[in-house]
Symmetry: C2
Subunit: 539 residues, 2 copies
């Protein structure tokens, strides 16, 4: 027997109507390329989003068609977040940090029919425009003049009539957006979000124990809108109604601190490298900026060192909140808000907890699988994290070959090797492909790297698995010395001995000039593995 | 084109798993009938809920069957909230304040197969047990001994094996619970909630701008679990993981204040009369109870006087949050949290706002309809509030005759006459059936009543519409004088003159002994309308 409740689809138009209806007068601020500030409100924004929807349809974009965006975080990108899915088309956020080769592959795989692009990114567009199928290019210009053969964004809008817009009814499972993983191996893989997944993600992301977005807040997403939906903040904001501030292309610490102070930002989110730069700037002159309204700096994308959380808290009274997610998770998975059980724990215990990845958001379920099945939640046993939930991918777009990333019973294999403790708190130990499997035991390369990078003579360290005749695999440390250092392998072994189990100590140390990195600054260990594929340990 | 997201149904089992997995050690406290405190945790609770599910199935309860509960707010009622829907049966909360006649109608209409009942409510059960179809009666006893022919709750649980329980997969639209409206007119009407509506309602209810339930909270629902799902707090709590405190049958101010202080309650919810009693007790001896942890008293069920909000705030530093809902809305509709625009308004303006019904929760849409179609949101024009959203009834159970409560385009007609202002804030002016329609203009009987009850000589006042040959309808005030008062109709007319538009002043004043009331203390104006159906104004 079914309930007798309204069949009210969870679609993005409901979020859009909510923003214009109840938060119409609330402000949206953008730091423009010339560093000036553009200001308008949700009402004006949604009126323009409707015109953009009309304009796109006049260009021939149909429900189900993908429309790419190649943009920084700003108000017109935000308009596109609504204009494209609201008539059933698919918002495809292109990552402007990728190489042309990847962008060609991605734009063709998604079959983008049009691309909205920032004027400043036209040089990037030109590196791949001739190789993709898109016919229409809509340029966000400052002059009102787009290059020949392209459209000017504002001109298109001025020619569109808001009265031609109407809210449609469609199924909540309709595709709303797509984003490609920027994995370190293989071709990028497309994740296809639905209206339902976006709406549910927005609700959960706004919760007090998740990102905690309220009408009285002022939210500044540093995390790019081309990267995993800016962690869901654009839609969550439109649903909750906070003042919104977009940093444009100005992601340097000084610009962000100016934004925070001037606009009264309360909640912001970004990757650790951004906050590291911010910390250094604050440390240099702690009284220069008044950021007392900032109540939450959400950090994700890669693990946050405990020391960074501690430094922000103790030196500047700023609260870092770690979150873990993936493009495949829309992206929110877990969040490391302090459980009330630890409210009276020592400061060190609290920092220790907050440096973990935390517990899942509501509706996300987790489990961890080792070589012999599911592993216990003892905070010790390592396994690959598997997740399920309503905003998690069930498959990749056009990629039957990647079906092995999903279990037979419908969970997604994250590729992260974790421990889970008794209260369900996840700690990432490694990426599964980076794990060293030695004699049936697992060794965390990330742990070893963090310890090595704590050595005063070491600038960078990457630990990889190398095949070993007896132990299956053994760790090799690829180490970058600081300038002038002559630290030796023996020194480093002696350094590690009191810190880790004996079998964790790398069998080899190679001194290299630099650790290769991806476009988003993550270690590209694949290259090291190729380089040292035939490595033989001396011992 | 559909998205490629997991088909993860929004069902109550996911809430149950979340509570036992992540909040297993968090405490659930109940004030028992003998005023002692029972304590256990979510892990123990959900283990027992599973046993209850097994026990009910052993009794022959099948998916789709309704199981009634006739209980106060306590931990076993909370167990039933999960045990019944988790295997596809329907939780039917029976309102213990109804008359036997209504209970017979309701239990038969829902076709309850079994009833779980508090020992203290057996006398009530006996007034209708012989007239309903239910075969099994499960008594929550203190002795372990149920009356002949009935089951003892604990004995049933002790005979059930948790290992026989398994989580099933079912469609999220499956019916989960039912609750009957205790309307002032006609037969009670059944609202049939789905798993989906309950899960979505729980998510939205937990939001910072709605009820704001977090893991670190301590939640005490005063609002009965037999009344509109205790405003969604039981499921919201299991999803967020706060400490939970159930007051049992002890709803007097002193007991509640003891609970608040002793358990560190942070969030509570109930009807105005409860908080009025609390206010009087606090006023008598403001230092007797330490309720400094209480950060939110949610009030709903009927309108809260501005003076009460002000008194709590200014005399005791306690924050009243008004919410408006209906059984048909699961029940949350709107919430009167102060918009940030009013953060710097005068205290009086702020209280004025907080005495309104507020703006809708996410996913709830509102509009207001007058005699000539939708009315503008100007804070002045009155109309009947219509709502839609995923946790709003689309029909009543077995009641095709009540189809006129739903519009052709799928909105629910609330029966409340409201104004809506420019930012979407709702103020209830009247129930539609209580409105006085005079010469094409609408007069709010509620406003007149509140004004009259502000007169020092008046104990109670109810204003009803009486047919009028010229004006269609005119207001008649039915007034209860305070003991010893000799206030006259002329006095009251003179009193109202400076306060309302001239055409609002009642044409007649009748002095009566008492205003008739419903089981939950609302004015039963229907009786007055019958009594004065043939009333003729002197003028």
């Amino acid at each position: 027997m079914n309930g007798l409740m309204m069949d009210y689809p969870l679609t993005i138009d409901t979020v859009m109507r909510r923003a214009e209806t109840f938060f119409g007068g609330k402000e949206i601020v953008t730091r423009m390329p010339d560093k000036s500030f553009h200001r308008y409100n949700y009402r004006a924004c949604m009126a323009r989003a409707k015109k953009l929807a009309v304009a796109l349809q006049k260009l021939g974009i149909k429900p189900g068609d993908a429309v790419g965006t190649l943009c920084w975080n700003h108000y017109r990108h935000f308009e596109a977040y609504f204009a494209i899915p609201v008539f059933g088309a698919v918002l495809h956020t292109l990552n402007l940090r990728l190489h042309a080769e990847d962008l060609i592959y991605i734009a063709n795989d998604a079959d983008d029919k049009a691309v909205i692009v920032d004027e400043s990114l036209l040089p990037l567009l030109e590196t791949f425009r001739g190789h993709i199928g898109a016919k229409d290019f809509i340029v966000i210009t400052s002059s009102g003049k787009a290059p020949a053969g392209m459209h000017d964004y504002e001109t298109l809008l001025s020619q569109a009539n808001e009265a031609d817009f109407e809210y449609l009814a469609f199924d909540e499972n309709t595709a709303a957006a797509t984003c490609y993983t920027s994995g370190t191996t293989g071709k990028p893989k497309g994740v296809l979000y639905s209206h339902r997944s976006m709406v549910l993600h927005s609700l959960a992301a706004s919760l007090g124990d998740v990102l905690d977005v309220r009408e009285a807040d002022c939210v500044l997403p540093v995390v790019p809108m081309f990267h995993a939906n800016a962690w869901g903040l654009p839609y969550a904001a439109a649903m909750a109604g906070p003042k919104l501030v977009f940093p444009g292309p100005h992601l340097d610490a000084a610009s962000l601190l100016e934004d925070f102070e001037q606009e009264g930002v309360t909640v912001t989110a970004g990757v650790p490298t951004i906050w590291l730069g911010l910390l250094q700037t604050l440390d240099k002159d702690p009284k220069k900026y008044n950021v007392s309204k900032l109540r939450k700096l959400v950090v994700g994308g890669s693990a946050v060192p405990k020391s960074m959380i501690q430094s922000f808290q103790e030196r500047h009274g700023l609260s870092i909140l770690q979150a873990w997610g993936m493009t495949e998770l829309s992206p929110l998975g877990t969040i490391a808000g302090l459980p009330s059980d630890l409210a009276h724990a020592s400061a060190d215990e609290q920092y220790e907890y907050r440096a973990k990845q935390g517990r899942p958001a509501p509706l996300v379920e987790i489990r961890s699988r080792g070589d012999n099945g599911l592993v216990p939640w003892d905070g010790q046993s390592m396994g690959e994290l598997e997740v399920r939930g309503p905003w998690i991918a069930s498959a990749y777009f056009n990629r039957p070959d990647a079906a092995d990333r999903f279990t037979d019973d419908g969970w997604f294999k994250t590729g992260d090797i974790v421990t889970i403790d008794a209260i369900g708190c996840v700690k990432i130990q490694d990426r599964s492909k980076d794990l060293v499997k030695s004699g049936g035991e697992w060794i965390s390369s990330v742990d070893l790297e963090n310890l090595l990078m704590g050595h005063p003579d070491i600038a960078e360290a990457a630990v990889i698995a190398v095949p070993h005749p007896r132990w299956d695999e053994r760790p090799l440390a690829c180490v970058v010395r600081k300038a002038g250092s002559t630290v030796t392998a023996a020194d480093l072994k002696a350094y590690l001995e009191p810190l880790v189990a004996k079998f964790w100590i790398p069998d080899g140390f190679e001194f290299i000039d630099e650790v290769p990195k991806t476009s988003v600054g993550k270690f590209k260990k694949m290259e090291l593995r190729e380089r040292f594929a035939n490595y033989t340990f001396n011992s």
